[in-house]
């Protein structure tokens, strides 16, 4: 019965609380109570403690205060007879366990014990999960390619079962965190023994060897609420409602449970995350704290994943082509090393290309895969290298030429999602590898075609009625048709170049993020792509055709109310409605007045540097300081959550090269500082824009982190090099 769970969780909370307290006092003795600690790359201090209590714990003294202030969450375990109610007390114990574990891990970081290292294999666990990962995964969290998370706790009964469970989770696109152990054995070790690739690329992330490490995925997931939800630290009701309603996480507990596992389970239940165990545990079926069952059990390992998904209330649509290897976004990040490669195509080794063409309905035979090449089967069987031309012919009543590039961009994902199939690049600089393992599983060239016929139809079902694939393997054919392809690429680029905000009547909204950031609305115009960098105007247009009631809606831009700042009557009307009144008006081309809001998964942040009369641009993942005295992670904390913050704005990288970049504020000449990596990425096109702006050497005049990381030095540099920003009108 649940009294057992409550008793165990309450005992666990006492254990971790006392252990942490002792360790904290020792650390204070060593370092002094003013010693400052930060987890790597987060703007949220000790994120769980911050989200729940609002306390920004920075020093050891702060941590001690947290433990002291929350001592009231320690309760007595229920008595044998005439017990008092225990559920509230059990959940308190769970939350206190998370607070204590967070401090415990901070102390381990201070002592250099984190991220944990496996003493036998030297494997380095992930440790604390950064804000950047959250933002980086942003679009995948909202577009359904990463619909849920699981914390797999403990160890499966044997290595093969561990692999089967993990593969099933991967195929269902679920992000996997591993922690804890059963008598020293753990799923992490089981997978390592089986040679399974671990890490973010394969979506299998071992965070640490002990149960206490489970805090990492938990204090990572609560940040979804502060980052995307925009809820404040201390607003524990909204933060926990957010995780319950919007973060589809759950625990799979394999093997026996002890007090600490139950205590973590009770912590997770506070967040709305249920636990499914493979042992004979007491179940808690009444609902309300979690949406469905709180604790359930399933002894059959072939059913446990499905059961867990249902208990969490998660709908997973798996689209899989008929191929002999596993398939799903989890396999996208998998690498295939040279020695594991059976055969490869393109990549400067052989000629290759990929092209999507629009055809009439009667010209396409749906599902057909045609392979054109001499002895192609024989050559394939030999392995090594081969030329490869992939032509996807599509037809459909609603198909438009503009959509070709969208469909073509998906070739990368279509291919990469196959286990043992790898893809890089695009158009005529593509590169494909097939691994030995995939070959052994029976993967052939034909399957490449099948992947594209199936997935193109599935992904673009409303546009593409028929899809047919032709694969060319003769070098002469590939070279010949590559010419045709290059003409098509050129035409497309010219068409895209001619698309301006003035030349269209319709912009598109992107509300995909509203599953995570309920009040944020992206407005995507031809010259301003979404801030996540993943959706441009054409994507929006195609997505609307695909699903007219979906996350991308047309916005009739209406009358231009302010040409300089880019304000349109239709956009304002739409925004008022779609943001639920949170945003009244928007200027597309300025950062200073009613700028675009952000969900939280922006690629870059633009922020003004008042002293420099200009702006700086920093991309996510940059961990260094910036001239305005804030790191990216801190800066990001002020921009997300669907609020307009004049002077700060999230953008996609490619917007920097748009002719509309901050035109209201003076355009790219305003950029005083930009990270080196961004300077490299914007490259030649930026130089072109600089030329148009009359400052051909602008890119060199823009400071970066190798030149300065503070505003004083920045000003010195700008004046020494004669940056045009100093001559411009005041930005404020």
């Amino acid at each position: 019965m649940s009294k057992l769970i409550a008793s165990a969780a309450i005992r666990g909370s006492h254990h971790i609380y006392n252990k942490t307290y002792r360790m904290l006092l020792e650390t204070i003795r060593d370092k002094g109570e003013d010693y400052v600690f930060e987890f790597p790359d987060t703007a949220y201090y000790l994120p769980m403690i911050y989200a729940i209590t609002g306390r920004a714990a920075r020093t050891l003294k702060d941590m001690k205060d947290v433990l002291d202030e929350n001592k009231g969450l320690l309760h007595e375990a229920p008595s044998e007879h005439l017990w008092k109610p225990y559920l509230g007390e059990c959940l308190d114990a769970g939350m206190l366990t998370l607070f204590a574990e967070e401090i415990y891990m901070a102390l381990r970081y201070i002592q250099g014990l984190e991220p944990a290292v496996d003493p036998e294999t030297g494997y380095v666990y992930n440790g604390f999960i950064t804000d950047t990962i959250q933002r980086y995964l942003g679009i995948q969290l909202v577009d359904g390619t990463m619909p849920g998370f699981v914390a797999v706790i403990g160890a499966a009964p044997d290595d093969d079962t561990a692999v089967r469970i993990i593969r099933e989770l991967q195929e269902k696109n679920i992000l996997i965190f591993l922690s804890s152990h059963v008598n020293g054995n753990s799923v992490t070790k089981q997978l390592m023994r089986k040679g399974i690739e671990l890490g973010w690329d394969t979506r299998i992330v071992p965070v640490g060897p002990d149960t206490e490490h489970t805090i990492y995925p938990l204090n990572w997931s609560i940040r979804a609420s502060t980052i995307f939800g925009g809820y404040k630290g201390g607003d524990f009701k909204r933060n926990l409602k957010y995780t319950k309603d919007r973060v589809f996480a759950f625990a799979l507990v394999l093997g026996e449970l002890d007090d600490m596992k139950w205590a973590n389970g009770a912590g997770a239940i506070n967040m709305g995350y249920p636990a499914i165990c493979d042992t004979d545990v007491p179940v808690i079926h009444p609902t309300g704290v979690t949406i469905y069952e709180e604790v359930d059990k399933e002894f059959d390992h072939s059913k446990i994943v499905q059961k867990a998904i249902e208990v969490r209330g998660l709908k997973i649509i798996v689209e899989k082509p008929p191929i002999p290897v596993a398939y799903g976004p989890a396999f996208e990040g998998e690498r295939i090393r040279k020695e594991d490669t059976f055969i490869e195509f393109g990549g400067q080794r052989t000629p290759a290309f990929e092209l999507v063409r629009t055809r009439e309905l009667n010209e396409v035979e749906d599902g057909k895969v045609l392979i054109v090449g001499d002895n192609w089967q024989e050559l394939y069987e030999k392995g090594g290298q081969m030329p490869l031309g992939i032509v996807i012919d599509v037809a459909g009543r609603k198909m438009q030429k503009d959509f070709e590039s969208i469909i073509e961009r998906k070739i990368h994902h279509n291919t990469n999602e196959g286990q043992g199939i790898w893809h890089m690049g695009q158009r005529d600089v593509n590169w494909v590898r097939i691994s030995n393992a995939a070959k052994q599983a029976g993967f052939t060239l034909e399957h490449i075609g099948l992947i594209h016929t199936t997935m193109t139809r599935k992904r673009f079902h409303a546009i593409v009625d028929k899809a047919q694939v032709t694969i060319y393997t003769n070098e002469a054919d590939v070279l010949r048709i590559r010419q045709e392809a290059r003409t098509a690429y050129n035409e497309r680029d010219q068409r895209l170049g001619s698309l301006t905000d003035e030349s269209v009547e319709t912009f598109y909204s992107c509300l995909l993020c509203q599953s995570f950031a309920p009040s944020h609305v992206c407005v995507i115009s031809p010259e301003r792509l979404g801030l996540c960098g993943a959706y441009n105007w054409l994507d929006g247009k195609a997505a609307y055709e695909l699903d007219p009631t979906g996350g991308n809606q047309p916005i009739q831009k209406g009358e231009s109310l302010d040409t300089k700042y880019g304000r349109y009557s239709g956009v304002d009307e739409y925004l008022k409605k779609a943001s639920g009144g949170a945003v009244e008006t928007l200027n597309l081309y300025t950062i200073m007045e009613n700028p675009m809001t952000s969900c939280g998964c922006f690629e870059c942040i633009v922020a003004i540097i008042p002293e420099a009369n200009g702006v700086m641009v920093v991309q996510r993942g940059h961990t260094g300081m910036t001239p305005i005295g804030m790191k990216f992670s801190t800066l990001a904390g002020t921009v997300g959550g669907g609020a307009q913050t004049p002077g700060f704005m999230g953008i996609g990288v490619n917007f920097i090269n748009s002719k509309k970049f901050l035109t209201g504020d003076g355009g790219i000449k305003r950029i005083a500082w930009m990270t080196k990596s961004l300077k490299e990425r914007v490259g030649d096109l930026f130089k072109q824009r600089a030329l148009e702006a009359g400052v051909p050497d602008l890119l060199d005049k823009i400071a970066d982190e190798t030149i300065c990381e503070d505003s004083e030095k920045l000003l010195e540099y700008l004046s020494s090099i004669g940056h045009p920003v100093l001559e411009m009108d005041p930005i404020i």
Binding site: L87, G88, F236, L240, G288
Partner: protein
């Protein structure tokens, strides 16, 4: 010969038998002698003036008129309004005294009381919108309140003592203002769900001020004023709302602030709690103030030493009636019993003092005490009793008063005569009943906490359980203990059947004593007697299937429980739509009618036992049973047959379930629609209906 059982509790029954054998008269003897007046019982006797009194009996209804011409409907309605007003006066006056105590604390005029529950003070101040910077900050948008206004522990800790006292003074003054307020509306009305509030507004039922509505009721009912049955019955609802939202809820809130909110405690209840070798003090009546100070001081080493110097081993406190409930649910002090056990307690011969304040004190205790050594001590300036010792309570010197009372009891210990049926005369099986036998003390705050802890507290799990059919509905059993009923059998029967039928049951007042004595206030009960759904719920939370929420004034906690059920969503947006029912099977007090009326006026149907006090008027009966359903959405039923009461209650709840579109209740079959969410569903979460469990 069939024996008539007076008390279901075996110890009380033994005492009742002993009393009969030893010619000690008790309430049971008087009840047997004094048959109720059949005219007055139905509400047909008019004593509003001295032209009569007029008794409106006879077959020819048209001719049923008083001397002035008042017809039976007007007579019945006026009588009913006066009873409800009497009860309302009692509860609101109780609240007023507590508010004065709070004011004294806030102004530093007494050291004997403190603000024990700062969180409750802040929460009440937030609900009242008290004008203070701390409250403004707590109410700002930084934090969701979701209608419960409970600040987090660290938010409470940040408020200074000075600020607490400032806020306490503002709260007390605001509440005092409510009593004498002449226009506007009671401040607490806005705490109700909007749908419920809107009905009050629509039908012009909002009380303006506490005293004004009660005074007006007396005026309306005096000869020659309000002589329209509909107009009179409308005022019944208005006065009822005063009782709930201006009296009981205020009393409950202020008691929580001064003495702490109720949280589950283990305790025991029946006459076996009295101890042979200790000074037994019974605290009887309704107000918690002096009682709490006596609890504070009775373990004081000096006092204990004094008791020992008089030959006693210690001091044993026991509550009785609703004071018992006050100190039982907040302090865990054992309860000796209900209203019906006051004389029986004295007949043990070992009660050294019975300290009383107001309400439900039978004058008969004086007669009983005369045969033994017991001193009856009255403590309220407004409740004197001939033959009692009077030591007047004053909140400014509460401790001194308490010390005098306790010392008087200690001094009286030596005077025990050996008469009476002492506890040592009970058989060993009955003495075994003395260990702790109940888990009691459930406040609105603890209910929320019980369902999700500090951080996820809510009523979501209860609403979910009702929607899924684990819980059929919520039910309250409250009010008095009637001498005419065999051994609390109606209360016991209803509690037992409701538990069996998967109801979430709360008890208060003397019904609370019944639940404790019958052993249903234990968590183990769920595994023996509960239906399959409640058993799962009890197992998940650890709660007993019957939850004791306190004294009869604390019945008002149900108002807030239902409000939170409404605001939580998934059931009805207003109180009247809930699958809920309340019973007062053994009522006799005017206070019970007042409580029943505020329940109905707030949308909660009640079923009272016994004969209807409005039976003589078909029109009044039609108003309370039917017409009120159209205005306030609830009905007031009187039903003497306990089986029919149960049936009617269950039918009412099932009807509400059906109206809400909930699955038909089937024991052991729980249906929760499992909606698996894809990304589009998630984007629509804010627009989604609450019934998918969000």
């Amino acid at each position: 010969m069939n024996k008539i059982i007076k008390m279901a509790d075996p110890i009380a029954e033994k005492l009742a038998e002993w009393a009969a054998e030893n010619s000690c008269e008790t309430i049971f003897d008087r009840a047997a002698r004094m048959k109720p007046c059949p005219i007055g019982m139905e509400g047909a006797c008019c004593r509003m003036c001295h032209m009569g009194p007029c008794r409106l009996v006879g077959r020819n209804e048209e001719k049923l008129k008083g001397i002035c011409g008042a017809d039976i409907d007007v007579v019945v309605a006026r009588n009913f309004l006066r009873m409800v007003s009497g009860g309302t006066a009692a509860h609101s006056d109780h609240a007023r005294d507590l508010v004065f105590t709070l004011l004294s604390v806030a102004r530093g005029e007494t050291k004997d009381f403190q603000i024990r529950d700062k969180r409750k003070l802040l929460s009440v101040a937030m609900a009242m919108g008290i004008n203070h910077p701390v409250i403004a900050e707590l109410l700002s948008d930084n934090r969701a309140t979701e209608g419960d206004y409970d600040p987090a522990p660290w938010e409470v800790a940040r408020v200074t003592e000075k600020e607490i006292l400032e806020i306490a003074e503002l709260v007390a003054l605001k509440h005092l203002e409510q009593f004498g307020q002449q226009t506007g509306e009671l401040i607490y009305l806005k705490r109700a769900p909007k749908g419920t509030y809107d009905r009050w507004e629509k039908y012009n039922l909002k009380p303006r001020g506490v005293d004004r509505e009660i005074t007006e009721a007396m005026h309306r009912t005096t000869m020659g004023v309000d002589q329209d049955v509909n107009s009179l019955m409308e005022h019944v609802l208005r006065v009822g709302l005063v009782d709930g939202w201006g009296g009981c809820l205020v009393a409950s809130d202020i008691s929580d602030i001064l003495f702490g909110i109720a949280e589950p405690v283990r305790s025991k209840g029946n006459l076996a709690v009295l101890k042979d070798n200790e000074v037994n003090i019974i605290i009887h009546g309704h107000e918690p103030a002096l009682a709490n100070v006596i609890v504070d001081i009775h373990t004081d080493p000096e006092i204990v030493a004094y008791a020992k110097s008089k030959g006693a081993q210690g001091i044993n406190l026991a509550g009785m009636c609703c004071t018992a409930n006050e100190i039982l649910v907040r302090r865990g002090v054992p309860s000796a019993g209900s209203f019906l056990e006051q004389e029986l307690a004295i007949m043990t011969g070992i009660v050294d003092a019975m300290v009383v304040d107001v309400q439900c004190i039978q004058p008969a205790v004086i007669d009983a005490s005369k045969r033994f050594h017991t001193k009856v001590v009255t403590t309220s300036y407004k409740a004197h009793l001939t033959g009692a010792v009077h030591i007047e309570f004053d909140e400014h010197e509460a401790r001194d008063v308490a010390v005098r009372v306790v010392k008087l009891a200690i001094d009286n210990y030596a005077n025990r005569t050996g008469k009476g049926m002492s506890i040592s005369d009970l058989g060993s099986d009955l003495k075994a009943a003395a260990p702790e036998n109940a888990v009691v003390g459930f406040s609105r705050e603890y209910f929320s906490y019980m369902q999700g802890g500090t951080f996820r507290r809510s009523f979501r799990p209860l609403n979910d359980a009702i929607m899924a059919g684990r819980v059929r509905g919520t039910a309250g059993v409250a009010a008095c203990h009637h001498p005419g009923t065999v051994g609390a059998s109606m209360q016991r029967y209803l509690i037992q059947e409701l538990v069996k039928n998967d109801f979430f049951v709360v008890v208060a007042g003397c019904a609370g004593h019944a639940a404790v004595q019958m052993g249903y206030a234990t968590p183990e009960t769920a595994f023996i007697h509960s239906g399959p759904g409640m058993r799962e719920v009890c197992e998940a939370t650890g709660m007993p299937p019957v939850m004791h929420i306190g004294a009869c004034v604390d019945t008002a906690r149900v108002l807030m429980i239902r409000t939170l059920m409404a605001t939580t969503g998934g059931l009805s947006p207003e109180m009247s739509g809930m699958p809920s029912i309340a019973f007062a099977p053994e009522w006799w007090s005017e206070k019970a009618l007042a409580i029943g009326t505020y329940f109905v006026a707030s949308g909660s149907t009640v079923i009272f036992g016994g004969e209807s006090p409005v039976k003589a008027s078909k029109q009044v009966t039609d108003i309370i049973e039917n017409k009120w359903q159209n205005t306030v959405g609830a009905a007031f039923f009187f039903e003497p047959d306990p089986e029919k009461m149960l049936q009617k209650g269950i039918e009412w709840v099932d009807m509400r379930r059906e109206q809400l579109g909930l699955p038909k209740y089937q024991p052991g079959r729980f249906k929760k629609e499992r909606k698996l969410m894809d990304m589009a569903d998630r984007r629509a979460i804010d627009k989604a209906k609450a019934h998918i469990g969000i």
